[in-house]
């Protein structure tokens, strides 16, 4: 046994879980899929007094799809979501991104809510949430509230979640017509943490860019939108090479790179430009006006 001693509770209802969480807020960790927490416990990077295992709370792993969007219960396993979205054009970003989340055995157990809650800067789920303009639903004994993904990630492993709150669902609004999505990352090996990655969304009408969300991850201390690069593209034709080059230069220059990790700051910065350049070419192929 590698973890330090902890007290263990496996609540059978959400209310029970929230009461336990309120009671032990500062000394407890919620155990969701455990695919990051268990390694941290084994390495003793985490040594909480309490482990509140929410795997037995019913109803938290439900996926509901409506005209408005996709509501994914926090305990939905990564692979369960992948199976749901595999052939759904509206959720192509998730379908492209999830296969890059570690390995099958880890995706079978790891959860969407857990990945969002942990806010690992190299994780795919937080970046997808921002690129899809998702809303994070949190619950505590004080009630429930929603936080837009764009306001949820505050820094390295730091989120807007209060210690007595837990994520109960992530809601992805259905993208309006015209939105295109692309995912790419550079990793040493399939399933490894990305050295740099991009979740990109772009609304294209008659080959012109109307809106864009370019979210880089594994670069800064949290997934980050490249706003200046987005602005350089909006209003331009998807085939406008000069605009694209300007956007790539802006993304490269503007992004904050967190030092440390597997490669140097300059290399990561270079990858940011490469990832965006490739993605913009793919967007042109997907949404370009063939007559234009």
């Amino acid at each position: 046994m590698k973890p330090a001693l902890f007290s263990y509770a496996a609540p059978r209802s959400l209310d029970e879980a929230l009461v336990l969480l309120a009671e032990h807020a500062d000394d407890a960790q919620i155990l969701a899929g455990g695919q990051s927490l268990a390694p941290m416990l084994n390495l003793r990077l985490a040594a909480p007094d309490w482990l509140i295992d929410v795997n037995r709370v019913p109803g938290l792993d439900v996926i509901e799809e409506t005209a408005e969007g996709l509501r994914v219960g926090a305990m939905t396993r990564q692979n369960a979501l992948l199976d749901h979205v595999a052939d759904a054009p509206d959720w192509s970003l998730l379908a492209q991104a999830i296969p890059h989340v570690a390995h099958r055995g880890i995706r079978n157990r790891g959860t969407i809510g857990g990945s969002v809650a942990l806010a690992d800067p190299a994780a795919e789920a937080p970046a997808c949430a921002i690129a899809l303009d998702a809303v994070i639903r949190l619950a505590s004994v004080r009630g429930e509230r929603e936080v837009p993904a764009s306001d949820f990630f505050l820094g390295l492993y730091e989120t807007a979640r209060e210690p007595d709150e837990m994520i109960v669902a992530v809601f992805y609004p259905r993208p309006a017509p015209g939105w295109l999505f692309g995912f790419d990352e550079v990793a040493r090996r399939r399933g490894d943490y990305a050295l740099a990655g991009l979740c990109a969304g772009m609304r294209v009408e008659e080959a012109f860019v109307r809106d864009a969300r370019l979210v880089f991850f594994a670069v800064g201390d949290r997934p980050t939108r490249a706003r200046v690069a987005e602005d350089a593209l909006i209003g331009r034709n998807v085939a406008d090479i000069a605009a694209r080059a300007a956007a790539c230069a802006a993304a490269r220059a503007g992004i904050e790179v967190m030092p440390g990790g597997d490669c140097g700051v300059e290399y990561k910065r270079r990858l940011v430009g490469v990832l965006l350049e490739r993605q913009l070419a793919r967007f042109e192929a997907m949404g370009g006006d063939r007559d234009g």
């Binding site: 590698k2 001693l5 695919q35 268990a38």
Partner: protein, 168 residues
């Protein structure tokens, strides 16, 4: 700092392991793979890195492969657990085992149980995975003898045999 082991939280579980119902009381921080190996003597699942990287501890829980080092035994209460011993006895790995044997897809054998279970899940889900897909799917299982080439060969052959058997 001394550890007061009287404080060790213990959890009662009832778990089906390879078709047998087992009732036990386990320390909350005992991993599933440690319980299977040390308490039940099912030593076919191996303990490698103990932080989810190497895949040697791969176990099937409720029909899905997962890391036996990243799940606590306490969490297996009510679950259906299948280890390499159970999977082999069921015969469902026979074609893969044969292919591994023919292609010398194991050297020291430490990774083999995890490789077989992971490959079996791939073959159950995909009819015709090519070498690229096989490599992607096995990327979470380390072979420290570095015998990947023959492992991919074996899985590819088993995939093809499965396809022919299904008449497609």
């Amino acid at each position: 700092m001394t550890v007061d082991f009287a404080q060790e939280a213990r959890v009662r579980i009832e778990t089906r392991v390879n078709g047998r119902t087992i009732r036990a009381e386990v320390p909350a921080r005992l991993s599933l793979v440690e319980w299977l190996r040390d308490e039940l003597g099912l030593t076919g699942s191996h303990v490698g890195c103990e932080h989810g990287v190497c895949g040697a501890c791969t176990i099937v829980v409720d029909g899905s492969c997962l890391r036996g080092c990243l799940m606590f035994a306490a969490q297996a209460d009510g679950c259906d657990v299948e280890t390499i011993e159970g999977a082999v006895a069921s015969g469902r790995l026979a074609a893969l085992q044969e292919a591994f044997y023919r292609h010398a897809a194991l050297q020291c054998g430490f990774c083999t149980s995890g490789m077989l279970l992971t490959a079996a899940e791939l073959l159950a889900r995909e009819r015709n995975p090519g070498r690229q897909r096989i490599r992607e799917e096995l990327s979470g299982n380390y072979c420290r003898c570095t015998g990947y080439q023959s492992i991919v060969d074996a899985v590819e052959v088993a995939a093809r045999a499965q396809q022919e058997e299904n008449g497609s």
